[in-house]
């Protein structure tokens, strides 16, 4: 409204405000920021709190119950058996180490691959190319997780494309197993890591880089001392995606992981096969603790604030 009068060039007085309900509400809200905050937060917090936190809390409580193996119903007597089983069982330790190793490796690979391409997109490519590259990175997201996983299965098979590519250099396909799992997962989550890093790099003003250059900073020094600290939160944001998505995956490892199983498989088997939700919930505590630990470490770097 105000914009219209200004552009017409005529000076007409701002019309007196009608005393509507909406108007009065607006005034009340302006005067009471706390009320405004409460109204704004209530819907999302009710959603997340009632749906998610309650569900999570219920699951954790279930870990303290047992299941009647004959009828498959849950007996609500308190016990720490499931937790103790998970903490002491060598199976769970082996699988946890394996899973965390895979997730870390996937995250590391994704960051290392994402950095150069995101940098090229944000700082080197022309606007036109920038647009094309963003599309090129986003497009594979739509090809369906399962289809891509099966495509990697085909690429990594005996006499597959991978072997055909590396054979001249004396290499051979890693076959199905953990290396294949790491490659496939890194591939699947790569766009989710490139995008935040790209967005982070875009926010680094070019003038800053030039200033560093003018002050005699070498390219490498500029990258390490100026750019990296600024995009660190973006890297963390990307790593949360790749780390947590890998941590809970059980489908890719089934397709290309050979005979290996990860934490997701154990949870899945206990829910699906054994119908033992309490034990599954106890196993689920492992990734929950790991993720909380990860977020706590990350929080100390201040990255969550800037996520």
């Amino acid at each position: 409204m105000a914009v219209d009068t200004a552009s017409s060039g005529q000076r007409i007085p701002v019309p007196p405000h009608r005393d509507t309900l909406a108007r009065r509400g607006s005034i009340t809200l302006s005067a009471h920021p706390r009320l405004r905050l409460t109204l704004m937060l209530s819907a999302p917090l009710l959603w997340l709190g009632l749906i998610y936190i309650v569900a999570l809390a219920a699951l954790l409580i279930t870990a303290l119950w047992t299941v009647d193996s004959f009828t498959g119903t849950i007996t609500r007597s308190w016990t720490l058996d499931n937790i103790i089983t998970v903490l002491t069982g060598s199976l769970y330790q082996t699988v946890t180490v394996r899973t965390v190793g895979v997730a870390l490796l996937v995250t590391l690979i994704d960051i290392l691959v994402a950095l150069p391409i995101a940098f090229f997109m944000a700082k080197v490519a022309s606007p036109r190319w920038q647009r094309i590259l963003v599309i090129a990175v986003l497009m594979p997201l739509w090809a369906s997780y399962l289809v891509k996983a099966y495509a990697w299965r085909s690429v990594l098979s005996q006499n597959g494309i991978f072997e055909w590519l590396v054979a001249p250099f004396g290499g051979q396909s890693p076959g199905y197993g953990l290396p294949a799992t790491v490659i496939t997962l890194a591939y699947l989550w790569l766009p989710y890591v490139i995008l935040p890093i790209y967005a982070g790099l875009e926010r680094v003003p070019d003038s800053l880089l030039e200033a560093s250059g003018d002050l005699g900073g070498k390219t490498w020094a500029t990258l390490c001392l100026v750019v990296l600290p600024m995009i660190w939160p973006a890297i963390i944001a990307g790593s949360i995606f790749s780390f947590s998505l890998s941590l809970g995956d059980y489908i890719t490892v089934n397709i290309v992981g050979g005979a290996n199983q990860m934490l997701g498989n154990l949870v899945y088997t206990n829910v699906g096969a054994a119908n033992n939700l309490p034990l599954a919930a106890a196993i689920a505590l492992i990734p929950i603790v790991i993720i909380f630990g990860y977020l706590a470490v990350v929080r100390r770097t201040g990255a969550l604030e800037n996520l």
């Binding site: 937060l41 917090l45 709190g49 009632l50 936190i53 309650v54 809390a57 219920a58 954790l60 409580i61 279930t62 870990a63 303290l64 119950w65 299941v67 193996s69 004959f70 009828t71 498959g72 119903t73 849950i74 609500r76 199976l91 082996t94 699988v95 099966y150 299965r153 085909s154 098979s157 005996q158 006499n159 597959g160 076959g175 199905y176 089934n254 397709i255 992981g257 050979g258 005979a259 290996n260 199983q261 154990l266 088997t269 206990n270 829910v271 699906g272 096969a273 054994a274 119908n275 033992n276 939700l277 505590l285 909380f292």
Partner: protein, 401 residues
């Protein structure tokens, strides 16, 4: 509760604390866990007569059992049923017996096609009801050797209609595995020859394959029925499978994986289904054999949920799918032997029944059909407790490691 309070201190937020308290209050008030209303082991009664059909029926089945043309217009036996009975079908498919067992707990399905490793569990959990076979005219045409077996009846009460059956055969790459194997030892004691290229079915029920092998090769263990193992016998089977694990390239549960692996040569020997052999590309050097120790196998059963919302439509489906035409269509598409002796006249491939040994009692007698291991030994022993399916599941996870 320790976790909740630990979480609470960590979060340190007024808002979240409020929510957490609210949720605990809610939890104590409403409770959580397994009781979905269908639980409990109470036996429901089979109906003595049928009423008018309802409007819909909800079916849970293996992929390829309930086809309405949606995936391939030429593969459709549901539309005819809908026209005939007025029961509109909604269906959900599952990938493993365990998933089926779990899905039935939701109480959303009227009918389930269950393999033997799920059926007894479903009965025990009270999720399925006895079936009055008198109300199903097409039951007459079913092969007698499939009726009233361990996996589809309890204490002489029928719990469903046999659908189709098949064997878990041994497949081998004819170039890599010579001479042609006649025993399962190529995947057990001799498997190191094919290290990294052996496959096995990815399910706790595969333990029975090892137990069956031990029946011949370690008779002093005294295994009478591979689904009825006491603790020592299970431990022996687990040891065998742990040794096998060293040489496993991958386990399979979806057959695309198995087909691919045999075609590319990533896998050269292991369990398979006849349909997988038939689906291999022409020229793939692979053959199947029924080894001398015998085989495990499946015989699937159509069962009715104890809380079925459309029991009449459910019976209509059981009758329809047991008819020679529908039974032929469904079992041929899936790749297994039909249960109705009249079905062989309706298969598209005139040799279908021969390939899958339908009605061949001699062949069928060598199959140990999947049954759910339970505490009461299936082989009739009363002096020991047998290991149950949850023990098998734990063992299976340990084996995979």
């Amino acid at each position: 509760m320790t976790h909740l309070s630990a979480r609470r201190t960590r979060i340190r937020s007024s808002i979240l604390t409020g929510l957490a308290i609210a949720s605990v209050a809610l939890l104590t008030a409403c409770g959580t866990g397994g009781d979905t209303g269908t639980g409990g082991a109470e036996r429901s009664e089979a109906p003595t007569e049928l009423a008018e059909n309802e409007d819909t029926v909800s079916i849970l089945a293996w992929p390829g059992y309930v086809e309405d043309g949606g995936n391939d217009p030429s593969v459709d036996w549901v539309s005819a049923f809908e026209e005939e009975t007025g029961c509109m079908v909604t269906s959900k498919t599952y990938g493993t017996s365990d998933e089926a067992f779990n899905l039935m707990k939701t109480g959303e399905y009227d009918v389930v096609a269950a393999s033997g490793d799920a059926s007894l569990r479903l009965v025990a959990a009270g999720d399925v009801a006895p079936v009055n076979t008198d109300l199903i005219p097409n039951y007459e045409g079913i092969y007698d050797f499939l009726k009233m077996q361990d996996w589809n009846s309890v204490d002489g009460v029928a719990y469903g209609i046999p659908h189709g059956y098949g064997a878990n055969l041994l497949m081998y790459n004819t170039d890599a595995v010579t001479p042609a194997p006649t025993s399962w030892d190529v995947v057990f004691d001799e498997s190191s020859q094919y290290a990294g290229k052996v496959t096995a079915y990815d399910s706790p029920i595969y333990i029975a394959d090892a137990a069956m092998y031990l029946m011949t090769h370690q008779p002093d263990l005294g295994i009478e029925n591979p689904y009825s193992l006491d603790e020592t016998q299970l431990a022996a089977a687990v040891d065998l499978l742990k040794a096998q694990r060293e040489n496993i390239g991958e386990y399979w549960s979806d057959y695309l994986k198995s087909i691919q692996a045999f075609e590319t040569g990533d896998t050269v020997v292991g369990t398979t289904w006849q349909v997988i052999r038939n689906s291999l590309a022409e020229g793939t050097p692979a053959e199947v054999v029924l080894p001398e120790e015998g085989v495990t196998g499946w015989s699937d059963t159509w069962m009715v949920a104890s809380g079925a919302q459309s029991p009449n439509c459910a019976y209509a489906w059981l009758n329809y799918i047991a008819s020679p035409e529908a039974n032929a269509q469904a079992t041929e598409y899936f790749g297994e032997a039909p249960s109705n002796q009249g079905a062989c006249d309706f298969t598209v491939n005139p040799d279908q029944c021969e390939i899958f040994h339908a009605g061949d009692e001699e062949y069928a007698s060598q199959i140990w059909y999947w049954s759910t291991p339970i505490e009461d030994c299936l082989d009739g022993r009363t002096d020991v407790k047998c290991t149950d399916y949850s023990d098998w599941t734990t063992a299976w996870q340990e084996i995979k490691g």
